[in-house]
Each structure stands twice: as structure tokens, then as C-alpha cells.
Amino acid sequence: MKLTYILLLLVAAVCGGAKEVSPSVAIVQPEDKSRYVGEGSTFVIDATFKEADTIVIKQDNNITTTLKVKPEKNTYCKTIKLKAGVNMVSVSLYKDAKLVNKSDRELYFLSELFEGVNEEDAENYKLRFFHKDEKEKKCTSCHNMKSNIPTNNEALEDVTKTTCYACHGGMINTKNTHAPAANWLCTDCHNGNFGEYNMQDKGASKYLVADPVAKTCGSCHDTVDGWQNSKFGHGPVNDGRCERCHDPHQSNVKMLLKTDSINELCMKCHDRKSTFGSKAKKLFVDMSLEVKHKAIVEKSCLECHEAHTANHKSLLKLDAKMDLCLNCHDDEKEKITHSKFKHGGVNTSQKRCLECHDPHATKNKKLLKKEPVATCLNCHDKEVRSDEDGGMLMNMKKHFDENPNWHKPIKDPKKGCSACHDPHGSDNFSILRKSFTKNFYANLENKDFFCFECHSEKKITKQFIKSNEHNITSFRDGEVNLHHLHVNDRKGRSCRACHDEHASKYSHLIRDYTDFNGVKFPLRFVETPEGGSCAPACHKEFAYDRVNPKGIGK
């Protein structure tokens, strides 16, 4: 009979293997499929020295914690640090290096601070609370489970004496701490109250914190009440969930932020890839683009935005359309507000600065939403009324589409239209960066025209072009500089009489029509290998030839 019993025991031992052989060897806490809002998970394991001498807690990130089982103690506890998302933790018990029991726990740490964490996935795991009388019984053999936290808001002289400290002491170990936490006035917040978002947890724990927590915070922080009067509030602020951004215990950074920088914190939700805050995600900002707003990179999102509440849309400190931008951009402010000629795109448009610029990050220089020319053509793809004189500005998109030869600076991806025009305003008409003329005739004597910033003045000043100076101009009849002939005269013609400063079907940006007192006259320009001819309004067809001069100007 005794032999049979021993045999049975042996068979059971062999077949059972790593199964829990005795109810006295078990993981009391946590339950499988538990959800955590903090990174610490406390394992409570029952083990008797008779059955096991070592407990090994192994996490799926290869962190292993080993506990020695002692004869005088039957319950062991250990807090491990969870990683975000799913954690597979196994607890193995060994006796004489032989596995006697193994049990697994699948836990979920839900935090918006980490990528790959998902509110939907977290739904499969249950939030559980430790501090219930029946569970606390387990602890009482070692711990005093009756809170000694002062309720009069006078912290203990030696905070290590608080009953909470023994288990939760590891929580406060950074330089920035929240006063009630550092002073172990835990029950100031962990008051067992519930809020509208955690009604279901009512009575689940003596130390429950109300969700939303704002009222609790507001009991010390008066500012919370003040926010009620603001026009716009940040989502978490509106929800009263201060803890979404702030860690109520401690932090590596000021303001007890949950991440190491403001920007990082904001991007936790306001990223296209964010799995948190579906509303915040819609207001995403792509900060991965190469050109970033300096204010954000060198300072933070809070240069422009308020974190809590604001009287301007998008939680901005000032009106987004202009005031905010011009608060820093002094040079542009001067131009935008005081220029003689203003750009409707910035001064009278709907979005003002944001018509062209993205305030966060873009692929394009100067934080332009699109490439330089495309930015301008966003509006100038139709005739638009000029703020300057009320006249209609041409459809530039159509003009560029129809005329394949563009003025070189426009083709330059770094410059575009802004090579000649100052989009913020100018004292020169057509918001040109330097003077020019609208007229057919112009006195070119002072040669102060914008064109000569790039094009040599010699083009118009030299009457004759010698053989070693051919690079000055190709508009020659033999040695006679035909630019000089057209321009240096009592009735000097301006550049735009013959050239289209934007784009043309012809080479050398020769216009198809020249406007003379409201009448469009075709130039009838024909190019030949060594010259060409032209029959504009001004004269009959004249031909020129660089090699075999036709005798123009003689």
C-alpha cells in the first residue's frame, strides 16, 4: 500500500512535470491578462522552502530576477519593470536546480508614451487593483498594511517611515518630484474616490484615484479653475486628465512631464503614426520632414502653442494668421506692415502667413508648403485682383504652361518667383525687390533696374562689341550692339518692351506681343543661326547678323 502510494507519487511527478504540484506554490499576484497603467508590476508568489529553493521571474525582454526561498518565509514579493505593450512573464520554481513549477503571465502595460501601444489591444486585458482586504492579508505577515499617511497634510519627518514606502519606495528617485509624492502624502490623491471615467472601479481599491483627476489636482493648483474661462482647451485638459502629460510622482524633466522633452511629449499624440488620441492624431504634425521651424527645434512647441488653454484657435498664444508669426519675425513684420506695395497673399488673404508657410515642418526651404513656384501658383493659377492698383494680375500658371522658356531664376528650385518678387511686400511696384518700370520707354541712364543685378550693364552701355567681348551680348549686327541702339536713346526702351520677364515661347525670353499704349503688337521675332529679324510695332522687318552685318545703326 505504501509502495503503491510512492509509485503513484513518482508517476505524478514524472507526468506532471512543471505543473503546479501544490496549491501552496502559486503566483498570487498578478492575475493573468492584467492591464497596467504604471510600469511596475508586483509579483506575489507563494513558495515553501520544502518544495522550492529558488524563484526565477523571467521577462520576455530577457530580464531575469531571482529570489531565494527561505525556510522562515512562505510569501515572496517582487516588483518588476514592464515594457510597453504585451509582456510575457514566466515564474519558475526550482528545487535543487530542478524545475518544480512554472507559470506564465501575460500582462499589458498601456502607456501613450511608447510606440506600438494600442488602446484597442489593451481592452483585452483587465485593470485590477491590489489593495483589497483579502489580498492585503497575504502581506500583513511582513508589512503593516494600515496606512499611516498623515491626513492633515503634514508630511512625516522621515518619509521612509510611511507604510507605503516599503513597497513603493522605488517610485521616487529622480530629481524632479511632485511635492505630495516626494513627501509621501499618497492619500492626498489616492483617496479612493472615483470620477466619471472610472465609475466602474468604484470600491475596487482603497487607493483609487479619481479619473478625471483634474479636481484632485485643482485642490492645490488654482490654475485649473482659471482655465474654465478660456475659449479653447487642450483635449486632455478639457477631459481633466492632467496625468496624460504630467507624471504625478516624478519626472526627469521640469513640469513633471512624462517624456524627456516637451516636443517628444506632444508628438506622442500629434503624430500621424500615433496610436493614441484619435482626435489628436487628426491634428497631426509631420516633424520628420527635413525643413523644420527653428522655434520648435531650438525651443519647443510651446513657443507658439499653449499646453493647456488659449483664447486663439489651435491653442495658439496669439492670432495664428499673423500676429503670432510677426511676434518673432521682425524683419518681415516691417515689410508686411510698412511696405508701400503689399502682397495680397499675406495682407488680405484668409490664412495670411499660413497661405504659403507651414508653421511646423516641410520639404521646402523657408517652410513653404509647396515648392517655390508652386507656392505662388497656388493663387496665381487664375487672374487675381492686385492690391496695388486694383487691376487684374495675369494667370501666371497659364502663362508658364503656354510658354516653355522660363526666366532662369524662376527655374531655380531655391529661388522661384521670389528671386525678383518679395512676397512679404516691397517699396517697388509688383513687390519687386528692386526698381523696375512698367513703361515701354524708360530712362535707363541710372541703370538702377533690377535686371542689372544679374545682367551686365555693358549689355546696354557698350555701343560696339569687339571680337573678344562676344559674351556681353549676342544681339549684335556685326559689332553694333543692338541693345545699346534700342535702349540708349532719348526714347530708351525698357527691357520689358521686348523681353517677357517671366516666360516666352521664343528664346532670349522675347515676347510674342509688346504692349504699346494698350495695343498688343507682335514682335514677329525670327531667329537665324547667326542673327535674326524682328518686325514689331516700332519698325518694319529689320534683320541682323553677327557674322555678315546687315548694316543696322550705320
Binding site: V519, P522, A537
Partner: protein, 336 residues
């Protein structure tokens, strides 16, 4: 019997003359111009209706011995030809030939008026203005020509030959210097069908009349002139009265500024007293200051003329001088 003979002869001669008359009548007809017309431009358009059965060719012969031959063919009834005119009376003969023999002759007199030469300014009484572009004539032309205006207001033709005016009026721009609206065939910018105080008689006579005075039409492009001139004290009469086309040919000219003659010749057409004698200054024993036939030092590459010293339009100085002071005037050329 004898009376019968007389009757026969009479009948024959009547029939013969009718036949002859009929043949002559059917040979050709000069539709345009009328017998005696006032010409205003240096060309006249002849429109001849010819019957190939009775005439092989029609020759138009100007009194400058220019001939134009029209070969008559059965497929066409009307033929047109532009004839060059000289100032004053032009007697143009139109002759129809059949197998080398003259079948009919007609004469047309055109008096080309000059806006400057006194002797050609006023045509004799028999001449009358003729307006070609009426419904009847245009109907004839429209067999071959598109008689509509195909000009786009404010945009010149890239290919001027596409202008419907070009085909018949192309010779008008033949001279060296051409006025932009003219050479670009923007005809209706001036030929706007309106009349002025000096040509009220033209009202409703033609679609293409030009107002006289023309000044306001000119100033619609030459805006600056209007602004600047109105501020001056003295004005040359034609400029003052807006009759720019008195001196300028609005189409084309051999002379600079589209002048009807070279500047000196043009001015002295009216100011004849300045041709002879010492107009400017004459010092003892030396030749008078020239007024032409030398280079003008003040205008590079140009010849000296009246306009070297006088402004032909306006001035603040008496005698429309180019400068308000004597020194200022002389130093235009005499620099040191």
C-alpha cells in the same frame, strides 16, 4: 421704191448703231472710280466689270505712263487694280481690246489732294469725294474678297496678310517709315467711322471715315504729348487744332516721323518766305547760317532742318524755338 430704200437704210443704220452700242456697252464698265473723284491717298482702286465675249483685255493707263493689263476670262465678271496717283489731276484711260482692236475707251479723272501744297489742296469743282465702302460696291467685291473687319481690338495681326484690309490696301504701307497701327493693319483704330467738326459732311457716308481733326485719336496713343503740350505757351497751329495729319502721313512715308515731306521741305511749303535770304543770321562777309543741306550737330546722324531750332508742335519760347534762351538755342550745336 426709193423711200423703201431710205427706210431700209435708216432701219439698217438704226440696227447697226444699236448693235454697235450694245457691243460697246457690254465690253466693260468702270464700276469705280466715278468720272471725277477726289483722291486722298496716293493710290486709287479701279474696279472694272468686263464681258469676255466682247473684250479680251482691259488696259488701264495712267498719265504717268504706267499701264496695268487685265486679262478677261469667262469665269469672272469683275476685276480690280490699284493705280498709283500723283498730286493734282490724274487722267486715267481705260481701254478694252478684242483681238488687238480697241472696242471701248473710258476716261477717269482723279484729283489727288495734298494737305500741304497749296496748289493741290483745293480740287476744281467737278471733282467730288467718293466713298467706296458702300453696300453696292462691297457686294461686288465679296465675290472674291472677305469684306468684313477681322481685326481684334487691341491685338495686332501676327501675320499682317491675314488682315482683310491688306489685300486691297497693301500699297499704303510701302514707304520706308510706317506708322505702327498702319503697318500692323489696326486700321479701325483711326478709321473708326466717326467725323469731326471739319468733316461733318462725311457723316454716315462711309463706315471707315476718320474724324477731322484727328488729334484726339492720335492722343489716345500719344498720351504723353497731350500732357506735355497742354502745359506750353505757344502752339503750332496744326498741332493746336488737332490736325496732326496735316504734316504727318498716318500710314507711311519716306521721311522721318512719317512727315509728308522731309522736314525742311515740309515747313517751307507753307513758310515759303524762309527759303530765300538769310533766315537765321548773317554776319559781314560771311555766308548766312544754313537752314538745311548740312549735318545737324544736335541730332546725331540727322540733317539740319527747321526742326533743329524750332519745335514743330509747342514751345514756351516765341517762334516755337527749341530753347527759351538764345544761348540755349545756339549751344545746342555750338558747344564751345
Amino acid at each position: 421704191m426709193k423711200s423703201c430704200m431710205y427706210i431700209k437704210i435708216a432701219l439698217f443704220s438704226v440696227l447697226f448703231s444699236i448693235a454697235l452700242f450694245a457691243q460697246e456697252r457690254a465690253a466693260f464698265m468702270v464700276v469705280n472710280p466715278p468720272l471725277a473723284q477726289i483722291g486722298q491717298e496716293s493710290i486709287a482702286s479701279f474696279v472694272v466689270e468686263a464681258d469676255s465675249a466682247s473684250v479680251d483685255s482691259v488696259v488701264i493707263l495712267s498719265d504717268a505712263n504706267e499701264t496695268f493689263t487685265i486679262e478677261v476670262n469667262p469665269k469672272r465678271s469683275h476685276y480690280c487694280k490699284s493705280i498709283n496717283l500723283h498730286f493734282g489731276q490724274n487722267s486715267i484711260k481705260v481701254v478694252g481690246y478684242k483681238k488687238g482692236a480697241v472696242v471701248k475707251e473710258e476716261m477717269r479723272d482723279i484729283f489727288l489732294v495734298s494737305k500741304v501744297d497749296k496748289e493741290h489742296r483745293y480740287p476744281p469743282q467737278k471733282y467730288a469725294k467718293n466713298y467706296f465702302h458702300d453696300e453696292k460696291n462691297e457686294k461686288i467685291c465679296s465675290k472674291c474678297h472677305d469684306m468684313s473687319v477681322n481685326e481684334v481690338k487691341g491685338v495686332a495681326f501676327v501675320d499682317i496678310k491675314k488682315s482683310n484690309c491688306y489685300e486691297c490696301h497693301k500699297n499704303i504701307n510701302n514707304e520706308k517709315h510706317s506708322h505702327a497701327p498702319s503697318i500692323n493693319w489696326l486700321c479701325t483704330s483711326c478709321h473708326n467711322g466717326k467725323v469731326g467738326i471739319y468733316n461733318q459732311a462725311d457723316e454716315n457716308r462711309t463706315k471707315y471715315s476718320v474724324p477731322d481733326p484727328i488729334g484726339d485719336v492720335c492722343f489716345s496713343c500719344h498720351k504723353k504729348n497731350q500732357e506735355q503740350w497742354s502745359a506750353k505757351r505757344f502752339h503750332h497751329e496744326p498741332a493746336e487744332s488737332g490736325r496732326c495729319n496735316k504734316c504727318h502721313n498716318s500710314h507711311s512715308s519716306q521721311s522721318e516721323f512719317y512727315l509728308r515731306k522731309a522736314a525742311w521741305e515740309l515747313c517751307t511749303t507753307c513758310h515759303k518766305d524762309k527759303i530765300e535770304g538769310a533766315h537765321v543770321v548773317k554776319t559781314f562777309g560771311r555766308a548766312a547760317h544754313p537752314t538745311h543741306n548740312v549735318k545737324d550737330p544736335s541730332r546725331h546722324g540727322k540733317d539740319l532742318s527747321c526742326i533743329s531750332c524750332h519745335n514743330p508742335h509747342v514751345s514756351n519760347a516765341p517762334s516755337l524755338l527749341q530753347s527759351e534762351t538764345v544761348m540755349g538755342l545756339c549751344s545746342r550745336c555750338h558747344k564751345k
